[in-house]
Symmetry: C2
Subunit: 619 residues, 2 copies
């Protein structure tokens, strides 16, 4: 059996260059040095580095999980090599400005590369990704000294960056953190406390670990308004520029169901009273700063989920094409050979489900990344609008791919049957790995509250209105193609109900209180996720249909005047790709968008069943 692919380059190119036309970003000064060929090369080199440094160690890193040995977490020896390779090739800092030896690469391209890395080996891809996030936080809010000291070494892969938020008594409830920071006359702070679940929080794949850590300065206000952000390195630089221990102990490494290649640490900070931390920005603004990293990380987590689902999809697709089992349901003649299982309708259904999730969610995450780029390069009201769209879509783009990633990898397992449950094939690993995403970077429940309780109503609902307008535009474009009209109408009808239910729910707050208003926020989030991905599928089917129509016209034209015309599409498509896109859109609308009927039915009821359920009634 040949090696299956883990990510589809042609599909990525179709999304980036045709659907989102990211070449047009180069018209803005910040991106003006970029060009189409450069973007193409970036994708190619992402696959190259993934093929060399990530994919070969997918299974090994799962089977040899990190161990705590004499106070230090040991990871797979290839991690060090990979971090240096990523650093040297400029991958960790690709999105950074030229002033920091970055490449000013659009976030859409960074997200596309991350997708490739995530699909090749999710655990391994986490190390450089976290480094980039930590360095960017220092760049945005840290002093010149902090920037000079930490950013170059994180970006070249020598040092690991992390985000250190969670504590034993403060996970979802960050207002309850107790890690303390005491100012000193020398300017640094003495940090004391405990942090748990710190991804890449300690390991021997880099020479130092740099935590971007939340703590409370003594005497700070209670709750989130008293949280500050610090750089807390595992080893600090002494006056001679030598690395010396900074009183950070690794108390433990977590043993997890999956995602085993990346070490998750439990840290004891400042037990001997000698842990130096360096304030980032102003006191008490730490959580606001951290949200920059968290919002990026949320798009990142969505992409992690899609990357894993992509690898699982292609593994199950290949198996389904090669595994003979059974015969056509309408011709069971036993003298005929068995057929590949991909010919059974139910296997096609499971593959279509996966394709619809992988390519639909990937599209949503690239769309969101493009909004981030547009927010970066545009000005005035346009900039504000892109920020609003990004803010609104972030909980959706994090959560829907994360939740569906479990079901998508589960469908991959099911395609393989008994083989899928065994360790000879990679799909069981993908299923285990996918389970983390609805948990970290804010649980699905938290994102439901964020979306319905905050994002939908912010700026008098402006973000929500902007999104509706974007979707209406997509519907209008789809309607110009007769064969897409039924889908466009279906989405239009769902949108009307979505607007109505949103108004209905928001209205509940004043009539029935905030608890009833938000009781089914998770269902509302799911509803929003289905709609968002349906929108993306309509965009894709529209573009595929349009490019295909133009290509066919081109072909006819070029017979007349060979070479004189140039195709309008960046990526040449074939009939199978186009039909696959349209059929998968049809699948998603028939099987997944239809689920909004059930969610809307429940959300219309004003009957707080969960709120009323008394804890004692569960026994």
């Amino acid at each position: 059996m040949a090696q299956p692919i883990y990510a589809n380059l042609r599909n990525l190119r179709f999304l980036l260059f045709d659907v989102f036309q990211i070449d047009s970003l180069t018209q803005y000064p910040y991106f003006e040095d970029h060009h189409h060929e450069g973007f193409e090369m970036l994708l190619e080199s992402a696959f190259q580095i993934a093929d060399k440094h990530l994919y070969p160690y997918l299974k090994e890193m799962d089977r040899n999980e990190p161990q705590l040995v004499e106070g230090k977490i040991r990871v797979h020896p290839k991690v060090r090599e990979m971090m240096r390779a990523f650093g040297e090739a400029g991958w960790i800092g690709a999105g950074f400005p030229y002033s920091h030896e970055g490449q000013q690469m659009p976030m859409a391209m960074i997200s596309a590369s991350n997708f490739i890395f995530n699909a090749a080996n999710y655990s391994a891809s986490v190390f450089p990704f976290l480094g980039a996030g930590a360095a960017r936080l220092i760049l945005s809010f840290g002093s010149q000294h902090l920037q000079n000291t930490y950013i170059p070494r994180i970006l070249n892969g020598e040092w690991q960056g992390t985000m250190a938020l969670t504590e034993p008594d403060a996970g979802s409830s960050l207002s309850d953190i107790t890690t303390a920071a005491e100012p000193t006359a020398e300017g640094h702070y003495l940090i004391k406390g405990q942090k748990i679940y710190i991804s890449c929080g300690d390991h021997d794949g880099t020479d130092n670990i740099v935590h971007l850590m939340l703590a409370k300065i003594k005497g700070a206000p209670a709750g989130v308004k008293g949280i500050s952000l610090f750089v807390v390195p595992q080893k600090r630089l002494d006056a001679q520029g030598q690395l010396v221990p900074n009183d950070l102990q690794t108390a433990g490494v977590y043993h997890k169901m999956g995602y085993k290649g990346a070490p998750i640490a439990h840290l004891q900070i400042g037990e001997r009273g000698d842990c130096h931390g360096y304030l980032v920005g102003e006191p008490h603004k730490g959580l606001t700063y951290m949200f920059q990293m968290m919002n990026e990380a949320r798009i990142g987590v969505g992409m992690n989920a899609v990357g894993i689902a992509s690898a699982a999809y292609y593994a199950s697709l290949q198996y389904s094409k090669e595994r003979p089992q059974g015969r056509k349901i309408d011709n069971k003649d036993l003298s005929l050979p068995q057929i590949p299982i991909i010919q059974h309708a139910d296997v096609k259904r499971m593959l279509l489900f996966q394709k619809s999730i992988v390519e639909g969610c990937l599209s949503l995450l690239l769309q969101t990344s493009l909004y981030a780029d547009m927010a970066h390069v545009s000005e005035g009201e346009a900039q504000e609008n892109y920020h609003l769209l990004l803010d609104l879509l972030t909980p959706i783009a994090k959560s829907y791919p994360s939740e569906m990633g479990i079901l998508s990898t589960s469908a991959a397992v099911q395609c393989l049957g008994g083989a899928g449950y065994c360790k000879d094939f990679p799909v069981e690993q993908f299923f285990r790995e996918s389970r983390i995403h609805p948990i970290h970077e804010g649980t699905t429940g938290i994102h439901g509250l964020d979306l319905l309780g905050r994002k939908v109503t912010m700026h008098n609902g402006k973000a929500f209105q902007l999104w509706m307008a974007e979707m209406q535009q997509a519907i209008a474009q789809a309607k110009t193609h007769p064969q897409l009209n039924p889908a466009a109408q279906q989405l239009e009808e769902v949108l009307q109900q979505y607007v109505a239910i949103t108004q209905h729910l928001v209205g509940l707050a004043s009539q029935h209180g905030v608890e009833t208003f938000l009781a089914d926020a998770t269902l509302y989030l799911e509803l929003s996720g289905i709609i968002a991905v349906a929108w993306q599928w309509l965009l894709q089917a529209t573009k595929a249909t349009q490019v295909w129509t133009e290509q066919k016209t081109e072909t006819t034209a070029s017979v007349v005047s060979q070479g004189a015309t140039q195709t309008a599409a960046a990526v040449e498509l074939d009939a199978q790709f186009v039909q696959g896109k349209v059929q998968t859109m049809r699948y998603f609308f028939a099987y997944e968008l239809s689920k909004t009927a059930a969610l809307l039915q429940r959300l219309r009821q004003v009957d707080p069943i969960t709120v009323q359920m008394h804890p004692d009634w569960f026994e």
Copy 2:
């Protein structure tokens, strides 16, 4: 943190003695020696043996998976002890007739005990369960000699029984098995071939392994009509009554995602031409015989899924009661302590989901087991009707709990957040274990085809009509309680649509061909599963309401005439139990039964999207 329970005795008693009134089985001669106290004692001793021999090794058996050492699979050393304890206490043969030293226990009680064992330690519970199935097959169809030789030793736990069907090229497609059986002059057959995925197919926890194996006698008709059933022991008895090797080699042990305590073997049979097999019953009828074991095993698999989900539910319930995190959404005063997460609506939703799945599916499986008992003791048309109900409900009772078991254990993981993903807590193990059930004993896709393609239309739809009548009766009873009226009406409306969609789908076969007719059989199976569990919830809510009303009347009456009256209910209920039942029914109807809207919407479309999808369009 105290140990959570893994299964709820009070709920089991409520279902067995109040909802299903299994005491009434004792009116039939076959069960006449049984009585209520005996049933109660059986449940108590099931918990005792589970507490002693199963639950303590749950984690150990997962962490120390079976290994193939010098051609023999080594399992956890406690397996041997457990098998003898189960054998000696009569658990393996509890359902067998007195003539075979069984206890003639009703299947409803056997299923209830299995539920307890599955919940305590799924992997361990598989060993005795498979033994019982194999012995029953020999009892039903084997010669007196086979019965005398094998049944006692399997039932006392000395020997392991298995079912050996799957081959490398024949999993779902059993018609393609190639294991060959050649008759000899001595009466036995020489067996040659390979079997894969054989649960408990080799291990050192018993002195012998007895396979109930499918093979084809040379010259047999092609396909399933040429399959015969054999007893193929790992060691056979020679003329002196000594166990000697029977040319059965263990080629490998599978390393799996979960369910690790039970060894799954790859067998090489008759490589030296000396593997003796003993025909069971008549030639070429093997698959028909095997279906007896498979149908029992299917109810068993449904119960396995529910057992695991039960253990996960109670683990997450306890965590949710003990873990403080965050504050009431309508009072975030930071000077207040954090509240246990069970007070958050979204956590209650995840617990209600689990409770609705665990108790709803358990109820469905006990209902199905009771139909099996009634089919056993009744006669004439009544017997035929119970057989039809059992046949119809088997694919549903296997598949819906299996599929929902994944989601239910996933919800348990989500309740624990990061802790749920780590190996310090058992829920990640439950999540991994639950993933096997939609695969073994027929995949969900296969059961969808069985239900829609065969069971619904068999005997001119009589089974389907009988089931509708059972549900209509439950609806009528519920309507006598005003507070249950809305739920009863909701189910009634869904049933009307269910009947209509069934007729619609069956009609498609002649108009559009069998492939289109069956393309969405898996969705139809899911629809049927939701309806079946809604029916069970209505039964439970009705009974709880009725018992509660009677109890209250009793209490009033007993003040007047103390001790003179006796409560009509077998189990005394408290207000919390009753309110929990009614509220969980309301949850299931609002959040789960509503999903039928989406399924019906899709099933109404005549648009064979999956059938049309060409394999080349997936790339």
